[in-house]
């Protein structure tokens, strides 16, 4: 059963508000481009776990689409990578782009396999 449009909006928006505030809190403590890498890795780990967990569409909208979606960010990553290319050079940008992908992908797979193994 899927949530009604109004409920879906409340769940996604509520999760998004919490995810953005949590991202801001991490951003104030972890410096610069490393903070986006940290956020994207942690959020992908959490989404991997959420995607494999036997939870309903309500919880998926709140935690997966809302919280994890807003906690991680592509736009700050893209702007940060373009700026790294012009300020530090293409090598730094390539490292940043590759490390985000590798870390987030590994974290997502780890999270989903861990939850799948536990919930059998």
């Amino acid at each position: 059963m899927s949530a009604s449009p109004l409920l879906a909006t409340a769940l996604v928006g509520g999760g998004g508000a919490l995810g953005a505030a949590a991202r801001h809190a991490v951003g104030l403590r972890v410096e610069g481009r490393r903070s986006v890498l940290t956020l994207n890795t942690l959020g992908s780990l959490a989404l991997g776990a959420v995607s494999a967990a036997p939870i309903g569409s309500t919880a998926t909208l709140l935690f997966g689409v809302g919280f994890c979606g807003a906690f991680t960010t592509f736009s700050s990553f893209a702007v940060g990578t373009v700026r790294a290319a012009s300020e530090t050079g293409p090598r730094a940008a390539a490292t940043l782009a590759a490390s985000n992908l590798t870390a987030a992908l590994a974290a997502f797979l780890f999270g989903s396999h861990l939850v799948a193994a536990v919930s059998v």
Binding site: A8, T9, V12, G13, G14, G15, G16, A17, L18, G19, A20, A21, R23, H24, A25, G27, L28, L39, N40, G43, S44, A46, L47, G48, S51, L61, G64, V65, G66, C68, G69, A70, F71, T72, T73, F74, S75, S76, F77, A78, V79, T81, V82, R83, A97, N100, L101, A104, L105, F108, L109
Partner: protein
Amino acid sequence: MERTPYGFLLVAAGGFLGAVARHAVDVGVDGALAAASGSRLALLGGVPAGVGTLTANVAGSFALGVLLTCASSDRLRLLVGTGALSSFTTYSTFVADAVALGTVAGAGYVAVSYVTGFAAAALGLAIGGSYRR
């Protein structure tokens, strides 16, 4: 400003709007694709994963580039940049979609997202920068 409760409130309000808008794009793009291609999509097993996320990520990267180069107030940067645009775009769902697409299509999806996302961010930074001068 950015460490105050008011700053967090701005980020959270923007986050609410950004996440809801991303979900609306995702649902809307899937619906539009399904309507435009009719029964042909049934052969693929429905709308492929990631089209809505790709749309949001590219549009949000462009908009953030513009905002960061020409926004003059901290309030605007927190509400629209850290709040709305950063929540409108997502990396975790991007990774989940890449995994769902499988190795070959997933690699293509990552490549397309990276190339168009970086190009959009660079274009946004350039347009915002020239507007400011």
